[in-house]
């Protein structure tokens, strides 16, 4: 807004007392045309509306195109196996046997673990930034957290390959295995560094900014007087935050988590580079696995048979539907809470 106002004032003042000829030109249609090329007039009222409307139509058309392409490109897989494609576990390009389950499971396991790690961290950040951080530090800290979202996925992947995966193999996974956590059935014997768990950690780092930023918005929108009332009743700052702020911001935080999960599902490069890329239906986070995005990345270029390509695109369609559903749910809740806040 700031900085925009003088610009606009200059533009509007063009028709003011200082330059009467512009005003008269607009008021009397018969006046001589100005020498400056007037794009707006040239296009005319209607045409401007139609031109921008055409752009909006393109956006609508693009989404339809995406759906149509994913459907047409995958129909062989659906006609061959029907919906059981989703629950089939075979993946063998040589014999032409394909099924999506190992990839769906890998994607869901890594995304949910990423969410489980990122949600408490993001909430802590959001609470710190809205309730505790001194005003002077607030903006720089917000900027730093947002920078996490700016680093490209492939750079996280690079870091994952050369820094995180070796560290996981040598230190982190053995350390976790030694604690009582290691006895949970989801953590097996540590082996390679490229595992579902490594991918989950990278995904967690990548979705922290979106969850933190949306949760912060949810916390800010809670009216201040609720918290102040709690403080006045003798609550400590944490109690006031928990009972007055967090309780009212629940819906907003939930939508933040849903949108974060949706982001994690579709994340490609960082996952592909750290998950291990082994077709392996497992629930053990310390094993190599595969994700829906990774199998497309690795095989679409080289896929030779028609059915192989269609199976890969079918996985893309499942991915699109999953992320569409999560995004829609998240946005709807967000819109409702925003409206209530306003």
């Amino acid at each position: 807004m700031t900085g925009a106002t003088p610009e606009a004032a200059r533009t509007t003042s063009r028709g003011s007392v200082g330059e009467p000829e512009v005003t008269s030109k607009v008021l009397s249609p018969g006046s001589p045309p100005s020498r400056r090329f007037d794009l707006a007039r040239h296009l005319g009222e209607r045409w401007f509306r139609y031109a921008t409307g055409a752009m909006a139509l393109i956006v609508v058309g693009l989404v339809l195109l995406v759906l149509q392409q994913l459907w047409v490109g995958s129909r062989l897989a659906w006609s061959e196996w029907g919906l059981s494609f989703i629950t089939r576990t075979a993946w063998n390009p040589v014999t032409g046997e394909f099924g999506a389950l190992p990839f769906i499971v890998g994607t869901l396991l890594t995304s949910m673990m990423a969410l489980a790690i990122a949600l408490p961290v993001s909430l802590g950040i959001a609470i710190l930034l809205t309730e505790y951080a001194p005003r002077l530090l607030r903006d720089p800290l917000i900027f730093v957290v947002e920078l996490l979202a700016a680093v490209p996925s492939v750079v996280y992947g690079l870091w994952g390959i050369f820094v995180l995966a070796p560290l996981m193999q040598q230190r982190l996974m053995p350390a976790i295995a030694a604690t009582p956590l290691g006895r949970l059935p989801v953590f097996g014997e540590p082996g390679t560094g490229y595992t579902l768990f490594t991918a989950s950690l990278i995904l967690a780092i990548m979705i922290i900014p979106i969850i933190a930023s949306l949760s912060r918005e949810a916390l800010i929108s809670v009216p201040r007087d609720q918290k102040e009332a709690a403080l006045a009743l003798g609550a400590t700052r944490w109690e006031a935050t928990r009972f007055a702020v967090l309780a009212s911001a629940r819906a907003g935080i939930f939508s933040a988590a849903v949108l974060g999960l949706g982001r994690a599902l579709g994340e490609t490069m960082a996952t592909t580079m750290t998950i291990g890329n082994r077709v392996n239906l497992t629930f053990d986070y310390f094993e190599s696995g595969y994700s829906m995005t990774a199998i497309i990345t690795n095989e679409l270029r080289e896929a030779a048979s028609e059915i192989h390509i269609h199976s890969l695109v079918a996985i893309g369609l499942i991915l699109f539907i999953l992320s569409f559903v999560l995004n829609t749910i998240g946005r709807l809740i967000l819109m409702r809470t925003r409206m209530r806040g306003a």
Partner: protein
């Protein structure tokens, strides 16, 4: 605060208060430490191998050493330029329509579908561009990469443009109407110039987002070891190079991947910082939203 005469229960509550603040600080550290760590590695390893040769020459075989990514840098600029050339008119136009004439089914569905597309997994954009263009043309091309990236570019620009236009106070529009200026010139001459800074911010954020995208390029622009030969030919780009060099078995290529990452991160962060200083209000796509 921790008075001696304080009841035990209150002291316990205050203690818990302090512990939870400490936990929040730990949470912040959990985000800041990886960021600093990643950036540190990118800078430390990347700068060590940064040279004029890297920026100006073609790749060399891994056994020889040396060589550079000049073709990939050019390729990235061209592909992102294509995405912007498609994305800016469509995105800004859609944003204007949604803001100025959007109270109808087309406006509402464009808005909803822009949100949907903003959440589109980037690899899906690649799959679609592969199916529509690569398969049709029978070869990988810079053009197909630009179109794949424009699918990610358009919704960001459309949404930020709409939000930018709606931030302009109603009085300005009304003042323009009062002077006898009709709707379209008001939008083009008054509202759009006033919102231009924020529209540009949206464009920069979108550029920053797509310049680092790898997945949509893998099966559209593919890769090349030579200078760009045309928009209809496979092309090298920085992100795809980082990926293929990183998973290669050659030590020398690993080092170059880090240097490429340094170049890419520098581009992305510059765009982000510039966008941030342009827009007084925090832009929503900064946090990847």
């Amino acid at each position: 605060m921790t008075g001696v005469g304080m009841p035990l229960r209150l002291r316990a509550r205050l203690f818990r208060d302090a512990v939870l603040v400490a936990l929040c600080v730990v949470a912040l550290a959990c985000a800041v430490v990886p960021l600093v760590w990643v950036l540190w590695d990118v800078v430390a390893v990347g700068v060590a191998n940064l040279s004029l040769e890297f920026l100006t020459s073609l790749p060399a075989p891994p056994t020889i050493g040396g060589g550079g990514w000049a073709n990939a840098i050019v390729g990235s600029v061209v592909v992102v330029g294509l995405a912007a050339a498609i994305g800016i008119p469509v995105g800004v136009g859609t944003g204007i329509y949604m803001s100025e004439y959007g109270a109808n089914p087309l406006g509402r569905s464009a808005r909803f579908l822009s949100e949907v597309m903003a959440g589109l997994p980037s690899i899906v954009a690649g799959v679609v561009a592969y199916g529509v263009i690569v398969v049709t043309m029978g070869q990988f091309s810079a053009l197909s990469g630009g179109i794949a990236l424009s699918l990610l570019f358009i919704p960001i620009v459309a949404i930020t443009t709409q939000e930018a236009l709606q931030m302009i106070p109603k009085d300005q529009r009304e003042a323009s109407f009062a002077l006898g200026v009709s709707e379209a010139p008001t939008t083009l001459r008054v509202i759009l110039p006033a919102a231009m800074g924020n529209v540009l911010t949206g464009v920069m954020i979108a550029t920053a987002r797509v310049v680092g995208e790898t997945a949509p390029l893998l099966f559209t622009v593919f890769n090349s070891r030579y200078w760009m030969e045309g928009l209809d030919r496979p092309t090298a780009t920085i992100p795809v190079n980082i990926y293929s060099y990183a998973i290669s078995p050659f030590e020398h290529w690993h080092e170059q991947a880090w240097t490429g990452a340094f170049v890419l991160v520098t581009m992305v962060l510059t765009l982000n910082v510039a966008a941030r200083t342009l827009w007084a209000r925090r832009a929503r796509f900064m946090a990847g939203r």
